[in-house]
């Protein structure tokens, strides 16, 4: 190998090492959420003088201790069996069961004693309803703003775009009053309706549909299709990629929204996951293990969702105009 080649190899290796280190740093907090949700709370075996709470240990344990402890007890049990010591074997068997129960007890407590199942379903319901509604009405309006000419078209378009510049906090108080006037306070509609006013989807759909050739629409018209039929048979099939991007971003936005839900929802049964997690933390009754178990339940659907639709996330961000 020439020195130059060696240099390049070393350079590549350095890049990889740097990136992997950065990736570990960025994923560590998430990893810790999961690890803590499976961490052993107070536990004592034959070698310990008193029970140890691994969730709050100094230095912090970076992996669920139960995994190691289970294996350790299993070894002891097998050794006892070989030695023919039945009572000892039974003891270690008990310990193994205890380790398993304590490792997963966070999830059991969470689903039995808190409303997390309700919150999960609320989050799902609100995110799905909002996403379907937004995609439908934004595709409809994006289509006519891209392909039709009518009085006031540009005025409507620019006024919708202009609101993208305005931070959501400006409309916080008036929207709250509006929600009260419409008697929607403490209902899920209070979360769904204001989201349907967002401008981003209209902008995205219009940009995308501008590229569709007019002849297609003309041809369908001559075929005698009504506008409604044209929309469903010509526009919607073509707009699918943009609709997918819009669905995904709306879904994530709704799933993670936090400020608005904690303002308009009071009833514990109506909360969404992020708002519910806040009440868990505020209650101060929940141990850290329980909080992290809740966080795990809230995070996993999003992570699966992202891994399934990664392509569209990248596409959507590359189109631009998406807030982080």
């Amino acid at each position: 190998m020439k020195p130059k080649q060696v240099n390049q190899k070393v350079g590549k290796l350095l890049i990889y090492v740097t990136l992997i280190f950065m990736a570990i740093v960025s994923l560590l907090p998430l990893y810790w959420v999961f690890a803590t949700s499976l961490q052993l709370p107070s536990y004592q075996n034959e070698t310990m003088e008193q029970p140890v709470n691994y969730v709050e240990s100094t230095p912090p344990k970076l992996y669920p201790v139960g995994v190691k402890e289970y294996f350790h007890q299993w070894q002891k049990r097998e050794a006892a069996k070989d030695a023919g010591d039945a009572s000892q074997a039974a003891y270690h068997d008990e310990k193994m069961k205890e380790v398993v129960t304590k490792t997963f007890e966070g999830f059991v407590i969470l689903f039995e004693r808190t409303k997390i199942m309700k919150w999960l379903l609320n989050s799902l319901y609100i995110s799905i309803v909002t996403t379907v509604a937004i995609v439908l009405i934004d595709t409809m309006s994006g289509y006519v703003l891209a392909k039709k000419n009518f009085p006031g078209k540009m005025l409507i378009f620019w006024s919708i775009i202009a609101t993208m510049m305005i931070p959501e906090q400006v409309t916080l108080v008036p929207t709250f009053m509006m929600v009260q006037k419409l008697q929607l306070f403490d209902t899920h509609w209070a979360l769904i309706f204001p989201s349907l006013a967002l401008a981003f989807g209209v902008f995205l759909m219009r940009q995308f549909l501008l590229a569709i050739p007019d002849e297609l629409i003309e041809a369908a018209k001559i075929d005698g299709a009504s506008e409604w039929k044209i929309f469903w048979t010509v526009i919607v099939p073509l707009a699918k990629p943009a609709m997918a991007v819009l669905s995904i971003f709306t879904f994530v936005l709704m799933w993670n929204s936090f400020l608005w839900p904690i303002i308009v929802l009071n009833d514990e049964n109506l909360l969404t996951l992020p708002a519910g997690l806040k009440t868990l933390q505020d209650a101060n009754l929940a141990s850290f293990k329980l909080l992290m178990t809740g966080a795990t339940v809230a995070a996993i659907p999003m992570i699966v969702f992202f891994l399934l639709f990664q392509r569209y996330f990248v596409k959507g961000l590359s189109m631009g105009g998406v807030k982080q």
């Binding site: 990136l19 810790w32 108080v173 990248v314």
Partner: protein, 351 residues
């Protein structure tokens, strides 16, 4: 299955027509989606002799009402969006400005002129929150953009598989809710059990009460923001980098420029619009910092981590001073506007 009359590539209104079945229209759509530039599929096209298309005469529709009536279908399509847009966007925005000049209480609202604005600027907490938010932005925005640029530059030359792996690894933490991230970071900063004090312990540094001391609470929040990977920024930069014309690099290579020079002289200048976009976007975002505050410090200790949005939230929904909160949010809006315009101009004029 109606009949249509069309010539390839011209308007359907003139010349010889072809019969075009819906089936072939489907075929056209299919081709279009596949990216085969639209050529009509002449599956069963027979020239039709007479049968002219009904000419929609372009009448002088001078009157606006007539034109609007003709386009009634378009308005119908826009209606649902406009309904929500009007109720929950237009009205609230106008109302926010009106509210900011009013005092709101149980009895109703009274006009108070600029009193709310004066109160806001005289309030110590609000001034502190402005300053904190400003500091937070000054520190975190450059960190966000530079980190994104560096990571994207490192990832870009790698193979497809490595690229998508790192893209996922850096974007993943940003799809999980900030609420979750804040909860775990609060624990990581814990005085006794936190990982941070453990790590600085390796270097012999005394444990720090990160979120419990007024001089370290805001820096702790900044560190958190810096260490959360700029997932969106990385993806946007990567897309922009892949669009840069490769011949520029080859020309520079021939001229004997090394990798670093190529990066400084080609990549960074070519990415200017992307950088501008990200700077403005992350500035707007960091001026609205809220979730971390309410989940981790509640604005404390003292007012050390009070931010604008957290003050607005407290003013409106703890003290129910809607007029004052509206004034504060209008101030926030103008600050963001001024910043965005300033950044836009200064970065644009650098060309």
């Amino acid at each position: 299955m109606g009949l249509a009359h069309l010539t390839v590539g011209t308007s359907p209104l003139d010349g010889v027509g072809y019969r075009l079945s819906s089936q072939s229209l489907q075929f056209y759509i299919h081709n279009y989606v596949l990216g085969l530039e639209g050529k009509w599929a002449t599956l069963e096209t027979k020239p039709v002799t007479t049968n002219k298309v009904e000419q929609t005469a372009v009448r002088n529709t001078n009157s606006l009402l007539k034109r609007m009536y003709k386009n009634r279908v378009s308005y119908f399509f826009l209606m649902p969006k406009l309904l929500f847009f009007f109720l929950f966007m237009v009205v609230p925005i106008v109302w926010a400005f009106i509210l900011s000049f009013q005092e709101f209480n149980i009895m109703g609202s009274t006009w108070v002129g600029f009193d709310n604005y004066i109160t806001a600027f005289q309030s110590n907490v609000f001034k502190i929150s402005l300053w904190n938010t400003f500091l937070y932005t000054i520190v975190t925005v450059p960190a966000f953009v530079i980190t994104a640029l560096v990571i994207a530059s490192l990832v870009q030359p790698l193979g497809k598989l490595s690229q998508s792996f790192f893209r996922a690894a850096f974007y993943l933490p940003t799809v999980t809710s900030m609420v979750i991230i804040a909860m775990v970071w609060r624990w990581m900063y814990n005085y006794r059990f936190g990982i941070f004090n453990h790590i600085i312990g390796w270097f012999g540094i005394e444990p720090v009460n990160w979120l419990g001391q007024s001089d370290s609470a805001l820096p702790a929040l900044m560190i958190m923001s810096i260490l959360i990977p700029p997932g969106a920024g990385i993806i946007i930069y990567l897309a922009a980098m892949n669009d840069i014309d490769q011949s520029l690099y080859e020309a520079a290579k021939i001229d004997g420029a090394n990798a670093l020079q190529r990066w400084l002289k080609i990549t960074i200048p070519m990415l200017k619009p992307t950088t501008l976009y990200l700077v403005i976007l992350s500035t707007i975002g960091s001026f609205q910092v809220f979730t971390q505050i309410i989940m981790m410090t509640g604005g404390g200790p003292g007012n050390a981590t009070e931010t604008i949005v957290h003050v607005i939230y407290k003013t409106a929904f703890r003290d129910f001073k809607f007029g004052l909160a509206s004034a504060q949010s209008v101030i926030l809006f103008f600050i963001i506007m001024v910043f965005a315009i300033f950044q836009y101009r200064s970065l644009r004029d650098h060309h």
